[in-house]
Structure formats: C-alpha cells, structure tokens
C-alpha cells in the first residue's frame, strides 16, 4: 500500500500537525518507504493468532475508588503557557 499527497494531508490533519505545501511530497516519500518496509508482514500467516494486548500476563491491580491526590491547582498549572486564575487559557472555542 502507498499513500498519495491527499492522504498525507489527511493524516497530517488527523494528527493535528500543520504541513506546508512544499513538505508534502517529501513526507509522502518517507511514509511510503516505511509502508513498503512493513509490507513484509503480509507474508506472515496470522490466522487464529490472538493479537498481543498484554506484554506480561498479569491481572491488573485495583484499588479502592477514592481520592488519593489532587487539590493542587498551582502545581497543575505551573507549566501552562497561558492561564487566568485556576484555568488554562485558550483561544475562543464557542462563538
């Protein structure tokens, strides 16, 4: 499988990464070279094989559903590029 430039733009949009017009062709080449490389997986017989969902077989530990942390808005907001009071600031989303 290989991608065309429209697909490159679509992927970039899905990934929320702005791509300039003059980058599309180059990216298309690189992505296609990686897709060609992974193409060899199609020769593996995977019929009846379960996909790996857990690297180490283990039962996930559970804990009581209670608050164990929080209440420190200052620490949460310390690295915010823009804030107002205890809120993150973004451009207007709803008109």
């Amino acid at each position: 499988m290989s991608v065309d430039s429209a697909t490159v733009r679509r992927i970039a949009h899905l990934a929320r990464i702005a791509v300039a017009d003059d980058e599309v062709e180059h990216l298309r080449g690189e992505i296609n070279s990686i897709l060609a490389f992974v193409e060899q997986l199609s020769e593996v017989d995977v019929a009846g094989v379960e996909p790996m969902t857990s690297v180490t077989p283990m039962v996930m530990k559970k804990r009581a559903d209670e608050v164990t942390d929080g209440g420190d808005a200052d620490a949460v907001l310390r690295n915010a590029p823009a804030r107002e009071g205890n809120f993150f600031l973004v451009p207007k989303v709803v008109e």
């Binding site: 702005a18 992974v38 593996v44 790996m52 690297v55 996930m60 690295n79 915010a80 451009p91």
Partner: protein, 492 residues
C-alpha cells in the same frame, strides 16, 4: 582528583564508607570533568547546586552511619525522566521549558537510596532515534574515535547522552530508557554495560511516554556489577503504574560472579543475518567460547519470526507514540504557538514543537490506526508480536536459560552518515535488540571487544522474563574474559 571519576560504583561505595574521600569530593570531581567535556554535548543540563546539596546530605548520613545503598553515588539522568524542579525536555523543542513538579518513580528511588544528581543527559527527541541526532539540543559526540581519525562518531541512541557520560567518566552511572534498543545499542557503541529489564520490572510513571507497551527504564554503567547495583534501586512495584509488576526485587549483585556451569545458552540462528560484518560474527563466536569455557552449554535455537520484529515494531511503536504524543497541544504545558482558533493553535504548536523524525512517526502511527487501515496494519502487527513472543517461549520451554546474540550489526558510525533520505537505514540498527522489547524480555549489552578501527562492540544476552539475575551472572563471565574498555581522552 581525576581518578575519582574512574571508579566503579562498587569501588566508590567502598571508598565512601571507608571515608577515603567524601561524597562532596566525588561530586566535585565529576562536575569538573563535565565542564571540560562540554564539547561532547552529553549533558543538556548540569545541576551543580543540586549535586553539592545532595552530596552534603550524603556525607552527613555517612558520618552518622546511616548510608543507604547508593549513598553519595553521582549519577546522570536521561532527560526522559521527570525530575522535580529540574527542567525535563525529552530532547524536544515542545518541552524545552518544561519544569516538572514531581520526580519519576525510578529517579525518586535513586534519591531515596542516596544517589546524587549531576545533571540531565541528551537523547533523541522523545527517544525516537538510534544515534542521538534527532535531539533538539543537538547531537552527542561519542568519546570514542576511530584509530588515527578525528571523525566525530555517534554514541548511539536514543540514550546517547547517558552512554557518552558514563563512557567518558562524566558520571559513575546513568539511567536510560529502551523502547527498541535505546539502552543496549548505545551501550554497545560506547563500551558500557546497559540492561533493559523485563517489561514491568521498573515503573514507567513519570517517564516521558514514547510507546507504552515497549518502554522500560534501565541503567548504564562501566561494569556488570554496577548495573546490578543500580537496577536493584530502580526496579520495583509502583501502584502508580498498573503495568509494573508486584514481584520482590532480588539482590542482583549476589548473582554477579555466580557460576554459569550447566546453563543452556541458545544461539538463535536467525540472528546470523545477511551481510553481517565478519568482525561481528567473530565476536559472537568468541562470546560462545567464553561462556562454554565457564561451563555453559551452547544450543542452536530457532526464532523463526525474528525478521518480522522490526517491521512490526515500526507499526506498534509509532501507533502508541501517536496516541501518547497527542497530549502536546500547547494548552497545559510546553510550547504554544499562537493562532486565531484552537485547531490552528494545535496544528501550529505541534508543527513547530516536534522535529522531523517525531512528526514522521506520529503521522505513520496516525495512519496505521486510522479507520480502514487498523486491521491491516496495527492488528496484524500485534498478532505478529504474539508470534515473536511465542518463539521465545518455545525456546525457553525447551530448557534454554538465556540467549547470546550480537548487540548491534556494526560499530558506531559517523555523525550525519545515516541521516539520508531513507529512514529505514537508521532503523536497521535495532535489528538485534527490538525483538526483546516486542517480547517484553530482559536484555543486557556487555562490552566484548574492539573492532579493527578500535571501536567497541557489544554482545547481548536475552533472558527469561524477570530473570535478570542470570543475565548478570553470564554478563560477568563476558566482562571477566573481555575486560573493560575506556576511550582515550581527546577532549579538554
């Protein structure tokens, strides 16, 4: 003072306890060495004030007879580990002003045990690379050079700064992370010991996430014993990481020097790849001979799906990365590139904040997870991964205790030599290491010799899940036979 930087962790521990020197002197010797070695770009941040304060506290505890396991041992921390109030960048522009308010579990355990922070080490951006050349902070230059040449070489990656710092005696040990070979490949390139423990052995909490089902933390050191000492402090269950395993951490150091007599060592025939340099083949043979002489038994084994590990990895890792890196949106932390609306803000921030390799991997990951392609790529890759793991399980079930392979297909290459048009050329560096991440197994790279140009080469030992101890026993046999390797100092 300079000899203080040449000590192993074990020797420094003994010297500190016998009060032959202080933790303050040990830290200072390293800070001086770091300043002189800035040309290597191994550190992206030096933390002398913190080092002095931590060393002073260590000296006080030593004086009171309350020394912990790593008391006063100066370490470097890869910039993928969050360190409280110390800038943590992951080698990316998007985080280059990020100051965490907390420590990763692994680093906090090192401080709990008395270690001293020297600084943060360089790495490929978000640990995506095999040469440290994708770092926003610039490449690391290896302390190693080819005989009679000034060509700057890569230290490997992604943990290139940690590997270079340990090899150049700018730290007694360092932390790394390994997603496809990011500890073992740079360890092999720099003549250091590096271990990626079993998936789940170390907590991933507070480590900048790349590919969550593959990432593991581990140490870099100059001896096998030192790796055992550091891993014991780094490992352990953490309720904050549900994939960390609730198993007691053994005293790994007790396994160093233990007999390997009667152990069955698998030699996977699929690792004898086409075009393997004669020197690598010879090194592998040498390793087999060393282990045999120590009483281990070599058995040829087959891991039939080996060749599919790297292509499967380049689906699974980017897919997980594209999800993990969705958090960098310019809103809560990190870089923000202003725009008129929120969508524009995301797109502009991520275009400017991520480097080329990271953008490429996010896009690959986004594509293989997108509607209509998920089954063909991602689901198939996860099935192949099951088969890769099954290969190892079959070999272990037949009585194999560990496997011996080369760590890398070549010695270190020059900076800029493999950054051409085809990304696959760089990816092939991890061909021997990536299978281990796919199967979640422990793997250690131990220096085993120098090539014809005087560059270090490493051998890899792969173990059963949670049997790092056997790797330390076998690794020590290789170290005893091969010796240790130190680069000649050409920097100031």
């Amino acid at each position: 003072m300079s000899e203080l930087t040449s000590l192993t962790i074990a020797a420094a521990r003994a010297g500190l306890r016998a009060k032959k020197f202080s933790a303050a002197e040990l830290a200072e010797a390293h800070l001086v060495a770091m300043e002189r070695a800035r040309a290597l770009n191994a550190y992206v941040l030096e933390t002398p004030e913190r080092a002095h304060a931590m060393a002073k506290a260590s000296d006080a505890r030593i004086a009171k007879g309350e020394a912990h396991a790593l008391e006063g041992i100066p370490l470097a921390i890869k910039d993928m580990f969050c360190t409280a109030n110390v800038r943590t960048t992951a080698g990316s522009h998007i985080l280059d002003n990020f100051i965490p308010t907390y420590d990763s579990t692994v680093s906090s355990q090192l401080w709990r045990d008395g270690a001293v922070l020297l600084g943060k080490t360089n790495n490929d951006e978000f640990a995506m690379g095999s040469s440290n050349e994708t770092s926003f902070m610039g490449p690391v230059t290896s302390p190693w050079r080819r005989k009679g040449s000034n060509t700057p070489l890569v230290p490997g990656g992604s943990s290139g700064g940690s590997a270079a710092a340990v090899a150049a005696h700018l730290a007694l040990g360092a932390t790394g992370t390994d997603t496809g070979g990011s500890i073992r490949q740079p360890a092999a390139f720099t003549g250091t010991v590096g271990i990626k423990p079993t998936y789940g052995r170390c907590s991933r909490w507070g480590i900048v996430a790349f590919a969550s089902s593959l990432d593991q933390a581990g140490p870099f050191t100059r001896s096998v014993r030192d790796a055992a000492i550091l891993l014991r402090s780094m490992a352990g269950h953490d309720p904050k990481d549900t994939t960390s395993v609730d198993l007691e951490v053994p005293d790994y150091e007790a396994a160093v020097g233990a007999s390997v007599k009667g152990l069955k060592i698998g030699i996977p025939k699929e690792y004898r790849v086409d075009g393997m340099p004669a020197e690598i083949e010879k090194l592998w043979e040498q390793g087999r001979a060393w282990l045999e002489k120590a009483g281990a038994q070599m058995v040829e084994v087959s891991l039939p799906h080996t060749k599919y590990a790297l292509p499967a990895y380049y689906i699974v890792a980017p897919a997980e990365a594209s999800s993990n890196l969705a958090r960098y949106d310019g809103v809560r932390y990190g870089l923000r590139e202003p725009a008129r609306d929120i969508g524009g803000l995301y797109e502009a921030t991520r275009a400017k904040g991520f480097g080329k390799e990271v953008r490429r991997r996010i896009m690959i990951g986004t594509y293989v997870l997108s509607a209509g392609y998920y089954d063909a790529y991602y689901l198939r890759a996860q099935k192949v991964r099951t088969l890769i793991k099954q290969d190892f399980e079959d070999a272990f079930a037949s009585g194999i205790d560990a496997m011996l392979t080369p760590a890398t297909p070549s010695a270190a290459f020059g900076i800029g030599e493999k950054t051409g048009a085809d990304p696959i050329e760089m990816y092939l560096n991890d061909v021997f290491t990536v299978t281990v991440n796919m199967a979640g197994l422990p793997g250690i790279s131990v220096p085993a010799g120098l090539d014809g140009q005087g560059l270090p080469l490493g051998l890899q030992l792969i173990g059963r899940p949670f049997d790092e101890a056997t790797l330390f026993s076998l690794g020590q046999v290789i170290e005893d036979a091969a010796g240790r390797f130190t680069p000649e100092r050409w920097w100031a």
